[in-house]
Amino acid sequence: MINNIKNQKSKIKNSLVKISGITLFWIIVSALLLVVTRFGLLGILPPGGANSFWFRLPTACASVLSIIFATLIIYKLSANKKLVLFSGLFLAISPWHIEQSRIYSPAMLGLTVSLGGVFAATLTRKSFVRLLILVITGVMFYLVYPSVWIFNGIHFSLTINEFLQNLFKLISVDFLFYHNDSFWAGGFRTQGVLLVSYLPLLLPGLWYLLTNFKVSHIRLLLPFLIFWILAASNPLFPDQREFFLVIPYLAVATAYGAVVFLQEFESGKFIVKTMLIMFAVFFVYEQILFFHWYTVHYHNRIKNERIYELEKF
């Protein structure tokens, strides 16, 4: 009884409803970034046709929903407000998430449906309802993302060696930080899945997750493993987008790193603080660099490719 009361008190204390000024500030910043990066100039960036805005709007809305679902799931699982805020922020400014939000992207719709399903499942404890949610989510996933290769009757045709190479390519430095060639039309061939400056956050984040790993966490890792294997076994590899579905995992790992970063900063010595500030400056610089690249150069590349496609085909 006493424990229950304590738990409830702790929940109220950690509740999202009870927020400090700084928390509110971060929420507003993230929300603003989210709205601007998803809906700003949606019809013309990247260049498209006359109806591009309406064509892209569902994906843009889905991307916002995906972040809301992701943050709610993380809050349900961890009850850690800092983690939730950082996860939301990293998803909001994630280069790949932004890019997929601003085109018609079945992968983004698939991600939103998956996260929505998981969130719905966290609202109930009844196995039957959970099973029902799973089935509905599966059907909806198929409807919004029918281009996943296993839905198209394509047979697995890779050798074990090729499959393993694909698996490791998806977690390679080149793919993660420099050269996302997973999607030709509109893809990021001069950028990685993440910015390089995420690495100093990703590593401590992964370390934290690893050192606090419990056997019961395996079920949380299953979707990651499934999507990773699914992406690597695509016969059209690297031209695939299934790996995009793991993006919330990358955001959470990075967010854990940011929490560690913040703790170190608060308790660190002068030299540690100086180093962390330098890193923060680099992080901001690279993020601005990305926005600059996306709004100016990516725009031009896509425009040129569209002209080429129109002339050629």
């Binding site: 060696n161 393993l164 490791f168 390679s172 430095v173 080149d174 390089v196 600059h292």
Partner: protein
Amino acid sequence: MQKRTLVILLIILAVAAFLRFYRLGALPPSLEWDEVATGYDANSILKTGRDQYGNWLPLAFRSIDDYKPPLYTYLTAASIAVWGWNDFAVRFPAALLGTLAIFTTYGLTYALFASQPVALLTAFFLAVSPWHVGFSRLALETNSTIFFMTAGTWAFLIGRKKGVFLPVAALFFGLNLFLYHNARVFVPLLGLGLLILFWKDVWRQKKYSLISAVIILLFLVRLIPIVTSIEGQMRFQGTSIFTPALTEEMAARKTNYNLWLADDSTANTGVIGKLFHNQYAFYGLLILKNYLTHFDPSFWLFTNDYVRHHVSEMGILYFIDLPLLLLGWYFLLRNANRKITLLLLLWFLLAPIPSAVTRDVPHALRSEIMLPVFQIVIAWALVTLYSRLKRKPFFKQAFVAIMIILYAANISFFLHQYFVHFAKDTSRGWQYGRAEAAQFADSIKADYDQIIVSTELEQPHVFFLYYLKYDPAHYLAEGGTISGGWAENRNHFDKYYFKRFDFDQERTARQLYIGLPTDFPRHVVPIKRINYLNGEEAIWIVRG
């Protein structure tokens, strides 16, 4: 050391020696340019005291214009004095130091963990490591660096208590500076790390620390003029990312940067472009990428660098190594002695720094200096896992059996690929066919006034000098090597002239031409075709 441990260690050393010396002269299938250049210089030093350029006992061998550090060549000279002038002798120092590195690695690991199982397992893993076995069979300096690094660090760790070993460590580190270019960056960095980690111990051994400092200073006094000279920087100029000769990937990135700058100059004032797409950002991100790729599992397991750096269908680590490596780091970071973990981490993280500023990365050869950290961490993982299976003999036995089966499968696959298929798969990479071409040409040279050898055969003068066993004194009397530059057309000896040629324009009846098939017009019928081991055409020999 217990008798049982000694026996196991001797068996491991025997295995290591077998894997490094068996068919050493014949596999890899031929000596490549660096090896023949070292072999010729070593013999030249032995016979005349001068290298192929006529330099007296040099401390930097100009070789093929890469100014090699001298130690390996002098060791090769000693080897040739013992074994005679042949391929085995040229590769002998690498194989010997590769084998001795197993022993020093054993010692180093024991000094770190005071655990015989960890030390023995580490020695075994290094003995059968594809990365280490492969490069121990080449007359290149890199692999020998590992012997000097492990010996030096081992001596340093012992020297913390028995000060007399500190000067020994200084000697090994100092010699390493004259062995390999990358060691000139790595040794000072790791040395500094050792001093910071163990400064209290070093301070306690004041007398020996002072002697060590003097030894290091003596090496540095000789080294600094070399590395600051134009010649000393030639290798860096030849391999660094800052040279104008860009790799395909760098050229593509540079093109992107230029396009972006052009975009920015039209979209805005160009200031933003300069802020974001400047050369500091370009090289900074590139160096970071070059560095990080050395930690890519794809590189370790499927290495995509030169074909001659690994056997077909596998990389430079075993598949089973990867999970154990991750586990090992986990155990070390969680539970092991902090200083030991930091030392291993420093070694692991500092080793790829010199390669990060070079082209063609990741590069298994340039980053081999990361060894034997992999093996130490893997051994630690295995021993820790085993010790955690407490009070359950069945699980312990099952664990050992599974590990033996997995490693046996991995190792036997590597040995099969290496000893059966490697020569055929990679003979092109080893510049195969030069020996046969030289010997054939020599057998008919009486019929010709001149033998013209295409420089498309990549430094052919050293191959012909080496394989024809041309007397160094005679060669130097004829002028020696003019330069090892790629465009050099003036190198010659006896009837042999090494240059680019236009066959149809230049040929005369008393000339013999040797080159790649692509050096000749299609109508030409060669008198001799030399093929790579996989059947592809390698070299044509054609009458003028």
